[in-house]
Symmetry: C2
Subunit: 368 residues, 2 copies
């Protein structure tokens, strides 16, 4: 193996594949990047056995071949090289020589035949989604996945494709995030993608207007193609909760409020609520105004904001974190908040379109 | 106590005094900010019993008085308030009411009479130092203080004033940093200031060209005045090492090298050396070139740079961290590196002036 390449492109490509490098593993080779020189390309591959990334960049190949080097060390070295053409070659099948101007690094290469192969997925029956839309859909759902692993399926996001419509759904037992997006598709499908995979895809997508991401599924894996990068992710197994049954269709009170104003108020209230277990914030709705308050042993806060309100007077309490998470990504100047009783879920919807629904369970107040 | 004030000024003032708030203390009141309304001013005071900060800002005082509130909570609250005049008042001597637009916070106030008073220091016999100069002098010495507390005096920086000359010196047993600066003074003095104090002063000083810092000393304390802010720091007790005896006056070899080039090379070499205990980097000097190399079980690096060299061929090894720390702040395009043998200290000096001397002890190589 011997190649010449541009240092900036090498840094960029390494930064992309680094996201799938195992941070905690007992298998040292999974801390590595598999490098393969072929035709006029350099392929970089990493995997933590859940997510694999395969990225191809142009390079001047003098001799084909492959090597596996420690990802962190390789990345640190190439970032510190002078801005000049880099020569990479394999010595005695066990050392990678990196030359740049008058700098010469020799680093250990693992045996590339021991590096696990990524699952092969046929690139047919691909869905195509604009990157900008997919970025929004990820950002507006992934925060609601469960953090603890006791029910692994809840650490993922449901992708449900039906009749030109993609529904993405995350829920953790206390809240639901549902985002609908219109796409072109002739196939129906229903898979659960790990939240971590979607976060990495979100980072890799440029989100530029004309850019697309191609997606394909097998029974166990999903393949995402973003330009020269392929991500292959394991799917989560198990039955996803029937979210349609959980989301109420009716409500008895409806609030219209300026998103930023409500977010600011809840963020203030959360400064005090934080000490307790539930980040409790209490809302009281009456004609044209909403009172937000929170108490803890540190003190209390009371605030009034203007709203449009249809319904009876109502007092209800929530975990402020769940409201903050949703309001930060809802992307509309105004939201509707739909309520029924102090013990039934609250529904947040953007006021100017119906592609997002957030459900949040209330917290039962001690005095009830 | 009742005051009206501008939220931005309150945020700025709080951020200044927060630097002396105790992070780990068994005395809860030391996590607080003492607030005192007097004349047309609001005074904010904090202390961790080593360093105290006293800052005064303008405010509209409706009723004089004082309170002590949790610094972190107070700071978070005022940062989240709407951009509108803030009213602060004390209720029942135990609660501070913070009002801003339609927001009302009530937070616990400690008893202000229990807040420790800062040591009183007469504001006479003051030295005056331009902030820009003092910032540089701190930055160019404080990194060389000892981190571990086994010899407390080494966690501070010696300030030695003699005949219009200020010498600042830090040393940790492996290296010495000496920075000389010309100031106007009629008094001689010699004190050791905790490194932490100097770091906080450095953050508070704007460093603008015409701004000055006033300094005064007692037997146990130093007072620094920066505009409306006073910092009162405990001095470190004990005898500082006679640094003049440590710094060799003669040398047998001298290198002239471009600072950035040497820094880049050592940073690259340190990527491999890091695994070992000493961050070892090896220099070999010969006519007009310097070879930098480093080895570890991860691999090795070899690099050559052009230098001007007077002396015999010499090989010497250092802890790369000490070189990197010094070269990052030396502030000159070229440095001189003065050497004698592989076992005697290396001296770094800026090439174009003689106000800085760094001494670094070499590491004995196993093969010697």
């Amino acid at each position: 193996m011997k190649i010449l390449c541009n240092p900036k492109e090498l840094i960029y490509s390494t930064s992309i594949v680094q996201k799938a490098v195992s941070s905690k593993t007992t298998l040292p080779i999974l801390k590595g990047i598999f490098l393969e020189a072929f035709d006029q390309n350099l392929r970089l591959v990493t995997t933590d056995m859940e997510l694999g990334i395969d990225h191809v960049m142009e390079a001047n190949i003098i001799e084909e071949g492959s090597a596996v080097v420690d990802a962190r060390l390789f990345s640190e070295i190439i970032r510190k090289l002078p801005d000049s053409e880099v020569e990479i070659s394999l010595k005695d099948n066990s050392e990678l020589l990196i030359k740049c101007a008058s700098v010469k690094f020799n680093i250990l290469s693992y045996n590339p035949s021991e590096f696990p192969e990524l699952p092969k997925i046929k690139e047919e029956q691909m869905y195509e989604i604009p990157q900008e839309l997919f970025k929004n859909m990820i950002r507006q759902t992934v925060f609601a996945t469960a953090e603890d692993e006791t029910r692994p399926i809840l650490t993922g996001v449901l992708m449900e494709i039906e009749k030109d419509m993609l529904n993405m759904v995350a829920l953790d037992g206390y809240r639901v995030a549902l985002r609908k997006g219109r796409i072109k598709s002739e196939l129906n499908n229903k898979v659960v993608i790990p939240g971590k995979t979607l976060n990495e895809i979100n980072h890799i997508m440029s989100g530029e207007e004309d850019e697309k991401v191609q997606i394909s599924f097998t029974n166990n894996h999903a393949l995402f193609i973003i330009n020269n990068t392929k991500l292959i992710s394991r799917l989560l197994e198990g039955e996803f909760i029937n979210y349609n049954q959980v989301i109420p269709k009716e409500f008895s009170s409806r609030v219209k409020v300026r998103t930023v104003q409500l977010l600011d108020s809840i963020e203030r209230a959360s400064l005090l609520g934080r000490e307790g277990r539930n980040n409790l914030v209490k809302f009281t709705f009456a004609d044209k105004k909403m009172i937000i308050n929170s108490n803890s042993k540190l003190g209390n806060v009371h605030e009034e904001i203007e709203i449009e309100y249809e319904g009876e007077e109502l007092q209800i309490a929530f975990n402020s974190k769940y409201f903050i998470d949703a309001l930060r990504v809802v992307n509309d100047d105004f939201i509707y908040l739909e309520l029924t009783t102090a013990l039934s879920p609250g529904i947040i919807k953007p006021a100017s379109n119906d592609n997002i629904i957030y459900l949040i369970l209330p917290v039962r107040l001690a005095s009830y």
